[in-house]
């Protein structure tokens, strides 16, 4: 029964072309370790340096988005402050391209603004993304934002196709958010 259940999960992942997956609480430490494993694997497979870097760059921005913006968090401090944020990260191959999909819950109140930003980004072509990135690089961070605010633009910029995203409302307070980038 146990093996059957987990074989089912594995089969599901395999069918979606997912070769790397993590679900649970992520932290900066986990980002580092998973990132290293990801790079080692790609390097062993003789992926060229710039491609490894592009996949890695998207992975870092996606993970940091989860860490910063997941609506399910545990924070505390023992020896040093720790921030654990629930989310999922999956990396796979599809039609000869690497894809990264991240998922995490967000507050419904944050959905409209996030949706607007993603929809805007999705509609931009390569040159427009570049211009937008340059503009945002010069902007002061938005109120309440911990990141550089250009993480999503960085993802779109390093992707070889327009980004894909989706929201699923879970209850009155939260939605599940997914973002897919193909490299």
């Amino acid at each position: 029964m146990l093996a059957q259940q987990y074989a089912g999960i594995k089969r599901d992942l395999d069918e979606k072309g997912i070769i790397f997956s993590f679900s649970g609480y992520v932290s900066e430490g986990i980002l580092y370790s998973l990132g290293e494993a990801l790079r080692e694997k790609m390097t062993l497979e003789e992926t060229d340096g710039p491609t490894v870097r592009r996949v890695f760059a998207v992975f870092v921005e996606q993970m940091q988005n989860i860490i910063r913006y997941s609506a399910e968090k545990v924070t505390g401090a023992r020896e040093k402050p720790v921030e654990l944020s629930a989310g999922m990260v999956t990396i796979g191959m599809e039609g000869g391209k690497v894809f990264i999909v991240c998922g995490n819950t967000v507050y419904n109140a944050d959905v409209p603004r996030l949706r607007d930003r993603l929809e805007y980004l999705k509609g931009l072509d390569k040159d427009a993304i570049k211009t937008y990135y340059r503009e945002q690089l010069r902007e002061a961070p938005e109120e309440g934002a911990r990141g550089a605010n250009i993480g999503l633009i960085e993802i779109a910029r390093r992707a070889s196709e327009p980004i894909e995203y989706d929201f699923l409302q879970m209850d009155e307070g939260k939605s599940f958010f997914c973002l897919k980038a193909r490299i």
Binding site: E28, R39, V52, R53, L137, A148, G151, E154, R157, R158
Partner: protein, 132 residues
Amino acid sequence: MESLKLPATGRTPEVDFDFAQGVLRLSGESYPDDVATFFGPIFAALRGFLAEPGGHPVRFDMELLYFNSSSAKALMNIFQMLETAARDGRSISVTWCYEENDESMQELGEDFAEDLHHVAFTLKQIPADGAS
């Protein structure tokens, strides 16, 4: 002014600021878990150095292989400091190194160069070392 030297870590670049010689260098990768904590002392040292009278020429070698978007903001800050000092008469040159075939890093260099009018900015292609 004393030099600022920090060894590279898994997530932060090597910092080698030789203020006496006016030769500053950042090399490696930058995606610190806390950008403000890492770059704070770098900003402070650079600001202090650029404010010193004397106007020693400055050479800044950017040899970064990868940086995340939060680090990009920090680099923008550094470039703005350099541009201001150059506008005020300091001779400042920046060399942006990128590995051959790494278009992303070349483009990012061009992004920063766009705002620099008084800093002498050079893009330099270096051979890929095979490592990522």
